[in-house]
């Protein structure tokens, strides 16, 4: 019998390359005649370029040429990002580029360029933009709808409410309600109302978005850092308006993205266009400083939350208003935050209002658990306070409010395929010894106070309808072609496992093909929103079933009988009960002889148009398994993480030490235990940074960010997290997907962050700080009884 592959630890196929330095990331590629391009970044948060004088720069040694905004694709008629612009919308936005023999020469030439900028009004804090007579991010206004800009301002009365710490009644652009919140609040035994600020923070993947490109024989060779390879090929072709088959995309490794490199990035256009212009390979080496500006950030929220509870801990009403700081080009986090609030606390009566305001700050994008991570981090301290006032245990309150599989949530009463949040909470509580640790809650030792906390965090974890593509070649091996990116989640390997199992192969009989579009990539999901594990375990299952059926048919056509007389194991198809058999190598050769559907010369009608060129490329190379995921399903796919933390807060320094952390996930069937642990704990650690340290700091007068490097907005280091963290999974298969596996990337971030905000609230004796990150200055001023500032700009400035 072939080995069991699903649910075992494997050594990822790319690991040796990664730890010997042989793995090539985008900036590791070289080409003959390669030159460097450097970007000129806007020194102002909003301006118009009146004149560029590059005469001196262009005569400097080694300089080839300049690239201006009118040479790249511009978005017309709506707020949209271009790779170069003459109307910068944030400090640090690229205006133009210079190419030169060396990077130093390009940088020196950038210094020699003289630009006449017309400074324009700018806004950093979304509330400032809503104030009567406040500035707008765009010259045309602060709201864009129906194809045009307009101005949306709240009234002085709204701001009087805000200044008093109460929820305003200003116009929202999104509003939905369910049930009757007024009636529900009148029946609540406890009503808590808080104003909450959640900061914006940068993604900062370890690998900046460097890119190298060159053109050869009309084809673009692109070396890119991206989360999603196949989709980036098409995105790049779309940007450049060229035939996608003229893009040779190489993206074998990606040094992290977290949502900031979903389909490559905007600025990969610069080396592509520049290389075409000057006829040389062009390297855009992005520094950390540049990455800070162009590398995307999670949107910040200013919000008001009113929650009603019954005496038994049931949450019966939520009223939530979120103002989102959206940067110049928008983001959808706030909508998701409303949905997740409803899902975690199931109030039955809820009103959500939200408004996303454009700001002149670096662009925002989905960051791991977009919207969801923020809202659970924001809400958990309020749950702590509610439990304290009602004399209940937080675990009990969570268990009372957490949904079951029949949940309907959000404005459209969305349903889910499976929910095991309660099992995750219970298992986590047991491992953490939640009951035993109650005794430590609030303990004081010298200047140290102990706190314990829970964070419960759901997020989307799957999608449907993508394609699988694989070939058994005459060497007898199964080649599984993946269009995914390779950003460290091991999904290239793990989503291939179902196909290997269906064909009863051992793992060493499987070869993975990824990261090079010239080798054939099927239509794939973007590797974002934790879709991949679910989407591509299904797609590869479907293609594996197709391959299996074809192998049996080839055996029957070759050796006689009908396909169901045959079975397969260990790279051999054989007649049941003994007799004739063929190796997969022979099957592959026979498939090529038979042609037609067997070797990919005839393809299924329902596969995506962008799978077809990849399948055509591989036709005739062996027995092809190719299929669309038609398994279907009802409802959204969500995974859950319950996080438990114990902290020690020093009231003298305001420093918080995280002493213990436990996370338990409901993500369906576990494909790869060790990789799952890494995703859950790694995501939790990112959430810890979100709750505790990472932030922007702007100079409000000039709109210039100060915290623009790793050390000024520091993600957690190895000394900032517990030495020994624990992780487990509920491990109950999702019933609506053939392998039972759901994704996991997003939910741990909220769990890690919320367990901390909950634990800090507990250590502070139920004081809701309701401000993140919980830096020592915020904690110390709260201990001294000072009201924390509410505006995003003041908090971060």
């Amino acid at each position: 019998m072939a080995e069991k592959i699903i649910g075992t630890d494997i050594v990822p196929q790319d690991l040796v390359a990664k730890i010997t330095g042989r793995a090539r990331y985008a900036e590791d590629f070289r080409a003959d005649g390669m030159v460097f391009t450097k970007l000129l970044l806007s020194p102002m948060p909003h301006a118009r370029v009146r004149n560029v004088d590059a005469r001196r720069a262009l005569t400097m040694p080694g300089v080839f040429d300049i690239l201006r905004a009118d040479e790249v694709r511009q978005v017309e008629g709506r707020p949209g990002e271009a790779s170069l612009t003459d109307e910068p919308m944030y400090e640090g936005q690229p205006i133009l580029a210079i190419a030169a023999e060396t990077e130093e020469q390009a940088a020196s030439a950038i210094e020699a360029i003289e630009i006449d900028f017309e400074p324009l009004p700018f806004v950093l804090d979304p509330l400032d933009s809503l104030r009567p007579n406040g500035p707008n991010a765009y010259t045309g206004g602060n709201v864009f709808a129906g194809g045009e800009f307009s101005e949306l301002k709240w009234t002085d009365a709204d701001f009087a409410e805000i200044d008093a710490g109460r929820m305003p009644n200003g116009e929202a652009t999104v509003e939905w309600t369910k049930g009757d919140i007024d009636a529900a609040f009148s029946e609540s035994d406890l009503i808590l109302e808080e104003s909450i600020v959640h900061q914006s923070l940068t993604h900062h993947p370890m690998e900046p978005r460097s890119t190298m490109m060159y053109w050869e024989n009309g084809k673009l060779h692109a070396f890119v850092s991206t989360q999603s390879a196949q989709r980036t090929k098409y995105a790049l072709a779309g940007t450049l308006n060229i035939d996608p088959e003229d893009v040779v995309l190489v993206a074998e490794y990606c040094g992290g993205g977290f949502g900031s490199k979903i389909s490559g990035n905007t600025h990969m256009e610069v080396p592509a266009v520049f290389s075409r212009k000057i006829g040389r390979p062009v390297m855009l080496r992005v520094t950390r400083y540049e990455e800070n500006y162009i590398g995307r950030a999670r949107p910040g929220f200013q919000s008001w939350l009113k929650m009603g509870f019954k005496a038994d801990g049931t949450c019966n009403a939520i009223d939530l208003y979120i103002v989102q700081e959206s940067g110049p080009y928008g983001a959808g986090d706030f909508n998701t935050a409303g949905m997740i609030a409803d899902l975690v606390y199931t109030p039955q009566n809820m009103r959500f209002r939200g408004i996303a305001m454009y700001t002149n700050t670096p662009p925002k994008a989905a960051q791991r658990g977009p919207g969801g991570a923020q809202i659970v981090i924001m809400m958990e301290p309020i749950l702590e306070k509610a439990a304290r006032e009602l004399g209940l245990d937080r675990l009990e309150v969570h268990l009372k409010n957490a949904p079951d599989a029949d949940v309907e949530f959000g404005p459209r009463n969305s349903t889910l395929t499976s929910v095991h949040a309660k099992e995750a909470l219970e298992k986590g509580a047991e491992i953490f010894d939640w009951a035993g640790k109650q005794a430590l809650s609030g303990r004081r030792e010298g200047t140290k106070r102990t706190g314990i906390g829970i964070g419960l965090s759901p997020y989307t974890a799957g999608s449907r309808g993508y394609d699988g593509l694989m070939v058994i070649r005459p060497d007898g091996k199964l080649y599984i072609h993946q269009g995914l990116g390779n950003l460290g989640t091991h999904s290239i390997m793990d989503t291939a496992r179902p196909a290997a199992e269906l064909l009863s192969l051992n793992w060493d009989q499987v070869e993975l093909v990824w990261g090079d579009s010239s080798r054939g990539m099927p239509r794939s999901s973007v590797q974002a929103g934790s879709q991949t594990t679910h989407a591509h375990s299904r797609a590869n299952h479907a293609a594996g079933m197709d391959a299996r059926a074809k192998i049996l048919e080839v055996a029957a056509r070759t050796l006689g009988g009908s396909p169901n007389n045959y079975d397969m194991d260990n790279g051999r198809v054989f007649r049941r009960g003994g007799g004739a058999s063929m190796t997969f190598a022979q099957v592959a050769e026979r498939a090529i002889e038979l042609g037609g559907k067997y070797d990919g010369h005839e393809l299924p009608d329902d596969i995506h148009a962008t799978t077809v060129p990849a399948a055509n490329m591989l036709a005739g190379e062996g027995l092809m398994g190719v299929a669309r995921d038609n398994y279907g399903g009802r409802g959204g796919v969500y995974s859950w993480v319950a996080g438990f933390a114990m902290v020690e807060l020093d009231e003298e320094t305001g420093r918080v030490d995280i002493k213990e952390y436990v996370a338990v996930t409901d993500c369906g069937t576990v494909l790869h235990p060790r990789s799952l642990s890494a995703q859950v704990l790694g995501g939790s650690v990112q959430g810890m940074g979100q709750a505790m340290t990472q932030r922007w700091v702007f100079d409000p007068k000039w709109g210039v960010p100060f915290a623009n490097r790793l050390y000024t907005a520091r993600p957690p280091g190895i000394l900032d997290v517990p030495l020994d963290m624990k992780v487990d999974a509920v491990g109950i298969a999702d019933p609506q997907t053939p392998v039972g596996a759901k994704g996991i990337g997003e939910p741990p971030v909220g769990a890690g962050g919320a367990a901390l905000t909950s634990a800090v609230a507990d250590a502070m004796g139920g004081l809701c700080l309701c401000r993140t990150p919980l830096t020592p200055d915020i904690i110390l001023s709260a201990l001294e009884g000072l009201e924390p500032p509410f505006t995003l700009e003041q908090h971060i400035g």
Binding site: C254, V685, Y711
Partner: protein, 210 residues
């Protein structure tokens, strides 16, 4: 000019303080950034002919390499762009992340913050130099990473592995806390510290059993 003399001159011209000042000056300009191939005029030193030899010999991964190096060039840049040893990564250009960590005479140092001219006469080891050159066998630390399935995106991995190598040489019997301290100059944005510590402890275990 003799080698010792030219090193002395370099140390005067490019003291640590001036180097840091130069780096800060570069960071403060909005229109350019970072760290340039061949160094920058902003570092406060023009490359005057004769001020220092440019063609120098480096001992990298046990091999003598002749290489043309500007006076103000960093080791990370020399390794990546002149010797094509791209396993040494640049994550921040500025001593904030440790992705460029290499061993200089066995000590883990940031390649982005070390001038290449300073390592003349030293032996430099990069991630490419850890395998046994004759057998291709992985080093103990690399084997430990395989055993534990270490790292996610792995852009930080070469730097961490160099720091782990220095750690097991210095202290093959660390506690988990000591291992964390030994690796605290390296940043992993995937947050994979739990598994990285498992790798470090496994590496120490392998080192002890040799």
């Amino acid at each position: 000019m003799g080698e010792a003399e030219s090193i002395g001159l370099l140390e005067t011209k490019y003291s640590r303080r001036n180097f840091i000042k130069g780096v800060i000056a570069v960071g403060a300009t909005a229109s350019s950034a970072g760290y340039f191939i061949g160094g920058s005029g902003l570092l406060g030193a023009q490359s005057v002919p004769g001020a220092a030899e440019r063609l120098i010999t480096l001992n990298v991964n046990g091999q003598q390499r002749r290489v043309d190096v500007l006076p103000n060039e960093t080791l990370a840049m020399t390794l990546r762009y002149r010797l094509n040893l791209t396993g040494t990564k640049l994550g921040c250009d500025r001593a904030e992340c440790g992705a460029c960590t290499v061993l200089i005479d066995g000590v883990n140092r940031y390649g982005c913050s070390t001038l290449t001219h300073q390592v003349r006469g030293s032996s430099v080891t990069t991630i490419e130099g850890l395998e046994n050159p004759d057998t291709g066998e992985l080093s103990l630390v690399q084997q430990a990473v395989i055993d534990e399935g270490g790292f996610q995106c792995a852009f930080c991995a070469p730097g961490f592995i160099m720091s782990m190598t220095a750690m097991v040489n210095e202290n093959p019997n660390p506690t988990r806390a000591e291992a964390a301290h030994a690796l605290s100059g390296n940043l992993c944005r995937c947050g994979d510290y739990h598994k990285i510590l498992n790798c470090a402890m496994r590496a120490a275990e392998l080192a002890r059993s040799v």
